[in-house]
Amino acid sequence: MDSLLAVLRCAVPTLYVITTAFYGMVFFGQRGPLVRIARPLFLLTLLVHGIYLATFVAHHQRIPLAAGAEILTVIAFMTALAYGYVEARTRTLSTGFFLLGFSTVLQFASSGRIALELEVAPLLRIPAFGVHTGAAILGYASFAVSAIYGLLFLLLYAELKSSRFGLLYRRLPPLEILAKMNIRAAVLGLASLTLAIVAGVVWANRLHPGYTRDPMFLLTILVWVIYSSSIFAHYRLGWRGRRAILLSICGFLIMGIALVGATVFLHGFHRFA
């Protein structure tokens, strides 16, 4: 099974690159039979990535969340999955280039660094702990999707406001769809992060009573507050467009800083006092 995993580890990023290239052709306006391959290729990539993750779980008897490289491949998969939903819903392929491009970068980072055998903390082998990590990863992936759609919204918004009518105007789906995807992904991310925090607190209460001083915990709470405010402002205060999206992107940036900071300075997700 090791050799199968090794093959899939190379095949998945390769497929992502090819798929993203085809979606790039769609975005930049290429037509013809070649472009029609994009969607089947995307479905194949999702399938192969799914097989890769399933093989990983079957081989290692655990979910792939023990190291940064493992988490990246799960985020890449979930981002692609979220994009698949958007594509099916909007019947437009034009944002695939950006979303799948993001998945490609993550998958390359993952495949390049992933270790076949890893010393795994016993905690990660407990299935119930997977609720905390799984929910957190889903939350991060959703926030990433939300941020990408938010960014595309801002770019299209700027083109529309300034009457420039450029490439983004021609190729992107309507502004309203981008806003909807931004907020829906943020809601899904917030729900997942809430679950991750609750599950994490339950575990930490038992094992690490000093968890409230953990920098990762504090940054996660900050991200949660920002996204909650953004979603509350959207639904309750009628914040629409640029202002609401800037707030959610701000939340994503803090989340990114937290993740990078945790990896670089803490060499892991948490440092409990």
């Binding site: 009457s163 467009g241 640029r242």
Partner: protein, 428 residues
């Protein structure tokens, strides 16, 4: 016989002349029928639209084609085209094919990429079929022209983007909003431009259209025509809280939609996006409204800019269209080149020779070494004798005028020559 096109279009003739030489469908069919037994022009198709009147034909020469066209126009319309020599163009051979493909692909149209022309070519071909003047050559040519039209639309952006101010205005809605049937639009003004924009909105699927005018009766009359709802002018601000699109097209000398009004409206509608299309001159909406968040305001200059960009983009696609056209011309000419008697005879001989050689190979081992050369010579002689009479007949097909191509096609079909031999049904 050669392929000929004779005609005039917006590129060569003024509107006045184009109007005078245009034929409707019934007249076109009559014209074609009146030439039914014309041996100098056995196949013909008349394409007549508001921008062109053209005769596509298989004719004895380009001069004969030109003379026929001038005669038709003089006879039916009383217009002597000999007095308008610059308005007429004549192309023969491959250039005729290119011209038809350019027309079908819409790059020869007044507005590059317009969608109607392919349908008009379709209609002209239907008329020629009904009139009995479309033979194997025009069948094949029309088929290729339709393929060019379809390919150009699916493989290039030559038809993409609105190219009139009204349609550009309406196209903006689909870049901001998603589900149009749940949207409503408010039109202020009851003039022709506003009515046209409202009509376009309805065609786009906008769920509800409201019409307001200082004179309520005028708003009611227009609303009736559009299947819309008239609202009092004083009620505009309240209505703006719920609509997604505002179209203003009044003749007011001063702006009637103020910055403060829209600011209040946006607060009331919880900042949901509002698209404002100001197609009035002078403008109906204060320009500073553009600065408000989630308000998308476009005036005539913006819309003209969008139209210009779309036209430019369409023009940039022309090289791609030309490549498609060249490919289809090559395909067509390959087929057309094979229609002469000589290629058919050559292919027929090759076919017989192939059968002879295959059969000989299968059975030659039954003969002793010294007999084999004789068997070889005998089979060759047999094939030559069998083909002598058909070859002579095929060489004489040209005497049958318009039927020659049909006969050659029949020979090809019977013996499976050319593409047919490879099982490639051309669909004719």
């Amino acid at each position: 016989m050669e392929l000929v096109i004779v005609g005039l279009s917006h590129r060569t003739a003024p509107l006045d002349l184009r109007e005078r030489v245009a034929f409707d469908a019934t007249e076109a069919e009559e014209v074609l029928r009146s030439m039914l037994r014309d041996e100098e022009m056995p196949e013909r198709l008349l394409l007549s639209t508001c921008n062109r009147t053209e005769l596509y034909a298989l004719a004895s020469s380009t001069d004969a084609g030109r003379a026929r066209f001038e005669h038709i126009v003089r006879d039916r319309r009383g217009v002597d085209l000999r007095q308008e020599p610059d308005s007429l163009y004549v192309h023969g051979g491959p250039e005729m094919v290119r011209h038809l493909f350019r027309v079908a692909s819409s790059i020869d149209s007044m507005i590059v990429g317009e969608a109607q022309v392919l349908g008009q070519v379709h209609e002209a071909y239907g008329i020629a079929r009904r009139a009995g003047t479309a033979g194997p050559l025009l069948h094949r040519l029309a088929d290729a022209a339709f393929r060019v039209g379809k390919r150009v639309r699916s493989e290039t952006d030559v038809s993409v983007g609105a190219v009139s101010v009204a349609s550009a205005a309406i196209s903006l809605t689909s870049h901001i909003f998603w589900d149009m049937e749940t949207r409503s639009a408010l039109l202020i003004g009851s003039g022709e431009t506003g009515a046209l924009a409202a009509k376009h909105l309805k065609e786009r699927g906008v769920g509800k259209i409201l019409v307001a005018n200082r004179t309520f009766e005028k708003a009611e009359a227009l609303a009736r025509d559009l299947g819309a709802v008239a609202v009092p002018f004083d009620d505009v601000e309240r209505q703006l809280a719920s609509v997604s699109i505002l179209v203003t097209a009044t003749s007011s000398p001063v702006p009637i939609v103020r910055h403060d009004t829209i600011r209040r409206v946006m607060a009331g509608r919880r900042n949901r996006p509002l698209l404002i299309l100001d197609i009035a001159v002078p403008r109906d909406v204060e320009h500073s409204v553009k600065e408000l968040g989630n308000v998308f305001l476009y005036d005539l200059d913006d819309l003209q800019e969008l139209v210009n960009r779309n036209l430019e983009r369409r023009r940039k696609e022309i090289p791609k269209v030309d490549a498609i056209i060249q490919h289809e011309i090559d395909q067509f000419l390959k087929w057309y080149g094979g229609l002469g008697a000589t290629p058919v005879i050559r292919e027929l001989r090759e076919r017989f020779e192939q059968v002879r050689a295959e059969e000989l190979e299968k059975h030659i081992h039954r003969f002793c070494e010294k007999d084999r050369a004789q068997v070889e010579a005998l089979t060759r002689s047999l094939v030559n004798k069998l083909l002598h009479e058909p070859s002579t007949s095929i060489r004489g097909f040209h005497r049958h005028g318009s039927r020659a191509l049909e006969r050659l096609e029949t020979v090809r079909e019977l013996f499976g020559l050319g593409d047919r031999g490879k099982g490639d049904d051309d669909g004719d």
